[in-house]
Amino acid sequence: MVTQAKALIRRFRNARSVRAAARPDQSASHWRLMYRELKRHKLARISSVVLAMMYTLALFAPFIAPQGLENYSSEYMNSKPTVVRFVDAEGNFHLQPFVYGLKSERDPETLRKRFVEDPSKLFPIKLFVRGEEYTFLGVFQTNVHLFGVDEPGRIFLFGTDGMGRDLFSRVVLGSQVSLTVPLIGVSISFVLGLLIGGISGYAGGRVDAVIQRFIDIVRSFPTLPLWMALAAAIPPRVGVVEMFFYITIIMAFIEWTGLARVVRSKFIALRAEDYVTAAKIAGVGDLKIIFVHLVPGFISYLVVAATLAIPGMIIGETAMSFLGLGIRSPATSWGVLMQEAQQIENVALYPWKLIPLIFVIIVVLAFNFFGDGLRDAADPYSHESGLKSANRKEKQRWFNRSKGKRMSM
């Protein structure tokens, strides 16, 4: 009897979870299915959280960064990261974290200047401190920063660079450029790709051949010299904003070709689908077929391709800045920071200067994983194979029956 009861309970549980999984299916649109499929992809889920955090960081950058772009202090050049502490030298626990003051001394062997903590001076970390003036979200003029310590204390979470600038602040502020250039660049190439790829796929014949050969040519340029040539075309003394704009254009100019190819091949593949022929036979006009049947058919693949193009652009921007072709100090991006850290001396003596690299790696990986998840989700129908053939009504009856059984028990 007990085994029977257990079997019944097990059966009921199965049925319930199936029902929960099956119900939203019936009238779920493509995007809903895609979203559900994406949620099942663990790495993509984690990546989306990471990316959300990164973009929040970029959005609130001047507020989160304790220092502004122009701040530097010659006293604290090449200082190592400040340690945030809860327990002081006497072993007392402080609820509010604090940092020690820094004093410089000379290494007796190498005679190099180095910083050591001074346990006699204790600076608690405070929230919402006043500091450098900045414009928050482009609207409010304010000087409140998320955290900081009172003068003369200093907090350098990631240490400082050779000019005594806080590296943490620069990483945070640099993310604004490094994370938005690819987004805008990809948007531009998205539009270009959709348009040119669409024309290529729709027109076919000679137009298609010309466009495809042009794409071949653009893609066959080695990117590095191309960037250099294009960067050389940028006027030498331009403002940060314009520079930003130029870089984006350069990136987009190369990237659109890949997207155009995705659009073209999908266009051709979908045109041969039976449901497109069905629409044609039903008398639906050409333009309408394109916008009702073809574009929605490949837009999800295009989104995937675009997402997977972003990491390439992040690396591209980083590479350009690294080569000194892009943004220049004091304006900053992750590429600029890495360029500043490129001497072997820095790597050996001041390894914290490589922290921006970690950010680049994390963001690139996150975009790749997220793109992978999207790609798997882009065709939600293929994953349903087991459920696809099932008649829902029929299934519902099975469930109801097992439910009824349980109730009478």
């Binding site: 779920a28 649109s29 689908e273 449901y275 008398g283 009702v292 929605p296 008649n391």
Partner: protein, 342 residues
């Protein structure tokens, strides 16, 4: 004289061949008539051009040459393939097509309502209310629950999807429906449901079908007249009973003899064809069937036989059609069988 609804006249469709090779003749010079209210079947093996022919008639593909003369309600006859825009707008809705694959023929991103109503929206200016009325009406006729119209195709099984495809084809109240292997992809028990549905709808709505299939048992079940195709040509055309009882073309004979019959007692001598269907890019000289034909002569290799009338209503493209005595399907054995079964 029978009331002719559609007259296909010398229809040809060529695909450009690969580099330097000659074009592939998927359909060559096909002519036939379809009478109002009948089921006209096109039978043949894969690659014989039957699907291409069906799609050309419905203008899903553009034919290379030939005419499809359609006689509209008022008695006027228009070439469906070359009709000018205004005329074509009027008759477009009269010829519709049902597809073989219930999966690829429905756009997965549209709701069932949008799929079924698409031909209506393209051909008529209807209010939302009228649209809903007509879609609900056709859904009920085809055995779909109207409550499910807001769902997406992926929520349906193959058989139900095929019903959606049928509803889409019938929503404009066409005069002629081309069923392109409409039941071939379905399971036996579902296939029977759909065949019955198609038959019922035809009687109810007075439609004419061009039924394209490779399955001779299904064809025998549903059609009035049958045309057998081989390598892009019609090789035999006859009323169903005549064709099944006494075929005039050797190819028809071997087709009939190859059909597996669900009766272990009915095992019989087979006429096994040698070889396979030739590549349509390099068709044989003379009669396209001659390399596989057991009656071939030198004349067959040299001369293309024309499709000619052998007796009233019976056409065959074989030089010796009048002389050969060919075997039909073993009918008597089956009839006996039926009594036992039912």
């Amino acid at each position: 004289m029978a009331d002719i609804l559609l007259q296909v006249d010398q229809l040809s469709k060529q695909y450009p061949g690969a580099r330097k090779s000659s074009p592939i003749h998927a359909v060559s010079d096909v002519s036939f008539q379809v009478n109002r209210g009948e089921v006209f079947s096109l039978v043949g093996e894969s690659g014989c051009g039957k699907t291409t022919l069906g799609r050309c008639i419905a203008r899903g593909l553009s034919a290379s040459s030939g005419r499809v003369l359609y006689t509209a309600e008022g008695g006027e006859t228009i070439d469906f393939l070359s009709a000018d825009n205004t005329a074509f707008r009027r008759i477009r809705k009269d010829i519709q097509l049902i597809f073989q694959d219930p999966y690829s023929s429905l756009n997965p991103r549209m709701t069932v309502f949008d799929i079924i109503s698409e031909p209506l929206r393209a051909n008529f200016k209807l209010t939302r209310r009228e649209l809903e009325e007509r879609v609900t009406d056709v859904a009920e006729k085809t055995g779909l629950n109207p409550a499910y119209l807001r769902r997406y195709p992926h929520a349906f099984s193959g058989g139900q999807r095929q019903r959606i495809g049928i509803a889409r084809a019938l929503v404009t109240e066409p005069k002629l429906v081309i069923c392109d292997e409409a039941v071939s992809a379905l399971d036996v028990s579902i296939q029977a449901q759909i065949i019955n549905l198609l038959k019922d709808l035809q009687q109810q709505l007075g439609m004419t079908y061009i039924f394209i299939s490779h399955d001779l048992s299904v064809v025998e079940h549903i059609s009035d007249r049958v045309a057998v195709m081989y390598l892009g040509r019609i090789v035999e055309l006859a009323p169903k009973e005549a064709l099944f009882v006494r075929p005039l073309h050797p190819y028809t004979e071997s087709l009939l003899s190859a059909v597996p019959i669900p009766d272990p007692d009915g095992r019989r001598e087979r006429i096994l064809l040698e070889g396979e269907v030739p590549n349509p890019a390099h068709p044989p000289s003379g009669c396209p069937f001659h390399p596989r034909c057991r009656f071939r002569t030198e004349r067959c290799a040299a001369e293309v036989p024309a499709l000619r009338e052998i007796s009233k209503g019976r056409l065959a493209a074989c030089h010796y059609a009048a002389e050969l005595d060919l075997k039909g399907a073993p009918l008597e054995a089956l009839e006996r069988k039926e009594e036992v079964l039912l």
